[in-house]
Assembly symmetry: C2
Homo-oligomer: 533 residues x 2
């Protein structure tokens, strides 16, 4: 025993132990997520990062929808906000009711804008209360994180990254109104890249291309009021003037929940990594309850129906219309619905408060998927090759639905106008018309034939940024140019000026020569005239 008591002995033992202390190699990651489904798709990444030995701290407002301490993959730090859970729920319920209101278009737009402003105010207030929470910010500053993972749909995280002086990884589907491509300096030619909310495909008519171009300007009214306050807040908090685009241009890597079986092909930047379909990584065997329902569905199989976590209830008239439509098909329908039970609910339709969507879609007995066309649901439909009936409600869901329809993998229904017959017809189509299954099967095969799983890709790039303190070698020099320089307008103006100058000089020279010649001619003719006189 004696040698162990000698200091050298201690050191030797410690040195022997070192290689087995895996956590020594692990880093520290700060996560400032976006609430709702955005948070759900980020969770598998955190779990994997935690498995790889990294310490993860998630920061979220005390009042939130889904960001809870569900397991020990991360530690959750919350901060107080000046609104209650009831107020937030009330706002969400109000928002979810909007798509079902049968009002004139302009009234609908106005209502939507009011509600968006209300929701945006919740998030903005939450951001202010994070940034000005001195205790929390001091803790974050002292924690010496290697990087920040955030969803820039809510640009608050990047302000924290700038404040802490750490690199950031963005995890998102998109930021509305092209803030993402602007901030990443990614070209997005309006001639074939349709703007959000237009419902256009990448093949546009002349009129559509004109409207797509004009949409650049209208987006100002759509998004400016939501996003520009974060530019002011960042400027105020960081004591450095910046717009929200400049703020977001600081992201080291953009993990985009996109895949070109679903999105239209368009340019990418080197620090944009497509991880579309990452949410399909969450797979579990069905619980006994669901397994029994699926197995009892017989040869006809099941239909999965969910309008997402935001829609808890539907006006009764509409719910009855839907219930009637669902009752016309021989399949068992699993409907995720927490509202009042429609009295005409058919025997084949089972209401559930929650359903394991991806696991049910993965079951071979699933024949169709009725969805609100949120991107998560659509990727789960694609991963599992289930044809879709799409009932888009708001935001990018109209665009998403159009993309699925344009690929022949689903049928769109207008939630306001649809009748029981429409629902029935749409379901019969996607279940019995082989082309829908064939098309979604083809998309699914293309989507799943990838060299590396999107989850591994996302984990790799977060670790890359943590390890290398960013990804400066992927940052285009375009960030260091202003708008005029980027578009070479100064160069073109200079070259035009040179050409113009050359033309003017040439013209002047010609005129001078002509005058000389004409002048001579004139004198000669005068002379000869005078001679002849």
């Amino acid at each position: 025993m004696a040698p162990l008591f000698r200091p050298n002995g201690y050191i030797a033992v410690l040195l022997l132990l070192l290689p087995s202390l895996d956590f020594v190699t692990g880093g520290k990651l700060l996560v400032i997520p976006m609430d709702g489904s955005h948070w759900l798709s980020m969770q598998p990444v955190l779990k994997q990062l935690n498995k790889n030995g990294h310490e993860i701290v998630v920061v979220a407002p005390e009042v939130n929808l889904l960001i809870k301490q569900s397991d020990d993959a991360f530690s959750l730090k919350t901060y107080p906000v000046p609104f209650t859970a009831e107020e937030m729920d009330e706002n969400m319920r109000g928002f979810a009711k909007l798509p079902f209101e049968d009002v004139p278009f302009l009234v609908m737009v106005s209502n939507m804008k009011t509600k968006m402003k209300e929701t945006a105010d919740f998030f903005y207030s939450s951001c202010r209360h994070l940034l000005y929470n001195q205790e929390l910010m001091t803790y974050l500053k002292q924690s010496d994180f290697d990087a920040l993972l955030t969803d820039p749909f809510w640009p608050c995280g990047q302000i924290v990254a700038e404040y802490l002086g750490i690199p950031s990884v963005f995890f998102l589907l998109k930021i509305p109104c092209g803030y993402d491509s602007d901030a990443a300096q990614c070209p997005s030619p309006p001639s074939y890249v349709p703007r959000g909310f237009t419902k256009y495909s990448d093949h546009m008519t002349f009129v559509q291309r004109v409207k797509n171009m004009l949409f650049y300007f209208t987006e100002y009214f759509l998004c400016h009021f939501v996003y520009s306050p974060y530019g002011s807040l960042a400027s105020e908090f960081l004591q450095k003037d910046m717009t929200v685009v400049e703020l977001l241009s600081g992201g080291s890597v953009w993990l985009l929940r996109e895949d070109f079986v679903f999105s239209y092909p368009k340019p990418l930047m080197p620090n944009m990594i497509n991880i579309g379909g990452i949410n399909c990584a969450w797979k579990k065997p069905l619980s006994q309850e669901f397994e029994a329902i699926v197995n009892n569905s017989g040869e006809h199989g099941i239909v999965v129906f969910s309008l997402g976590s935001m829609v808890s209830e539907i006006p009764m008239k509409k719910a009855m219309e839907i219930a009637e439509g669902l009752g016309t098909i021989p399949q068992t329908v699993l409907w995720r619905y927490t509202g009042e039970v429609p009295p005409n609910l058919a025997k084949n339709t089972k209401l559930v408060k929650w359903l394991p969507q991806n696991d049910l879609l993965a079951h071979p007995k699933t024949r169709a998927f009725i969805t609100h066309a949120g991107s998560h649901g659509i990727y789960e439909g694609i991963c599992n090759a289930v044809p879709m009936v799409l009932m888009p409600l708001f935001g990018d869901q109209m665009d998403n639905a159009k993309r699925v329809e344009s690929r022949g993998a689903g049928v769109i229904l207008n939630i306001i106008e649809m009748t029981a017959k429409d629902i029935s017809n749409a379901l019969q189509a996607v279940i019995y018309d082989k082309k829908y299954k064939e098309n979604i099967q083809r998309l699914s095969e293309l989507h799943l034939d990838r060299p590396i799983h999107p989850l591994d890709l996302a984990v790799h790039w977060v670790e890359f940024v943590m390890k290398h303190k960013g990804a400066a070698h992927l940052r285009p020099a375009a960030h260091d140019l202003n708008w005029v320089q980027y578009h070479s307008i100064d160069v073109i103006a200079f070259l035009l000026a040179v050409v113009l100058l050359a033309l003017i000089i040439s013209l002047k020279c010609c005129l001078f020569c002509c005058r000389k010649c004409c002048g001579k001619g004139g004198r000669v003719s005068k002379k000869s005239k005078s001679k002849s006189q």
Copy 2:
């Protein structure tokens, strides 16, 4: 035994055998490679594809530099060409001599262009003799290939792909003069993407940006005479009018031997896959001969020196200058050189006819790499973190060298002007000034920290195109737009016309109103005037 003679027995045995017949799942790949080092970097992909069970047929001219039947990973089909190996060697030797000629700039450009034309003629003639070789083309047509793998630096392969109606995968570093980005519809803003041969970085001054823009026009003279004949040949052979850019736009996937530790960050398209550093995949233990040399180099280690496979000899005066420079360092220098031995060769310098470059660079005793700055060598330098002395000779080598220098990982020498002292100084710098090693080490770490090896990535995408008959979902709609539409010039013109029309109408209305008012005023004043009179 009896049951085996029954037909059902045969079928049963065949069915049992089927799962073990791996080749049933394998596809057929046609390869039309580019000669020289381009072919070498493609070979590991073919080997891996062959291991994966695919049948590979390589088509090459009878007279070529390096495309030989080296193993059974592929079968080689050659076709006769109207030139001899001696004529080709003579051309290559002439080409390789050019960089060492100390002549005025314009003479050098003129000599280079003459030699380029001569080389281009060899390739063009080879292409004609492939396309119009009826026997070979009939065999290819009947062989029912799944896809074609080709290096579009020599655009002949794509004409064959179009003729056979099969999808193609491009494997390349780049096509000069921006034909690659034009054909892939990849934006390449001249404000921060330097054109080839300019030696600019991605951070350009105003004057450099002007020159970079002007380079678009001069490229016409640099590359047009080499590439445009393939457009005419394709039009003639396929009986369909097309330019060479239109021809090359047919590529399904572009495997680019690029990585942003070396290239400047710029936009990519969804079907562009970066596989830079793929050539480092070839690793073997050193042979006894080389192992002995390296081990005998003592604490100082070795320097690897190669000017590539094209340069077989150097003018004696220059060779002696180099030999003198090499003699000043304590390291053992392994110089790949087949020319006449310089009489002043120092003891530390060993001439070899060939050397396992990547394996030597991978050895921990290697201190520096003297290279002509070909992209393969540079990637091997980066993979193995060896600082470089760069002696660019022609083509993209000047640009390559500048990139390494701009990242502080090497020193450039001018092959014409360099003295023994310059060579010695450059070597001393990269070996003993720590910053070079630190910089190349950092680049190497960034380059090697990737989620998947470039070889696996390349193999995946070739198999993807074979399996799915192309990659249509990655093809941007930009291909279906003309230049005016792509740049939205028609839309902008229309919108300007509308604005102009609105302005004119407003102006006319204003003028009309003014006239009305003034007219009235005029009448009133006249009236009042007459009244006052």
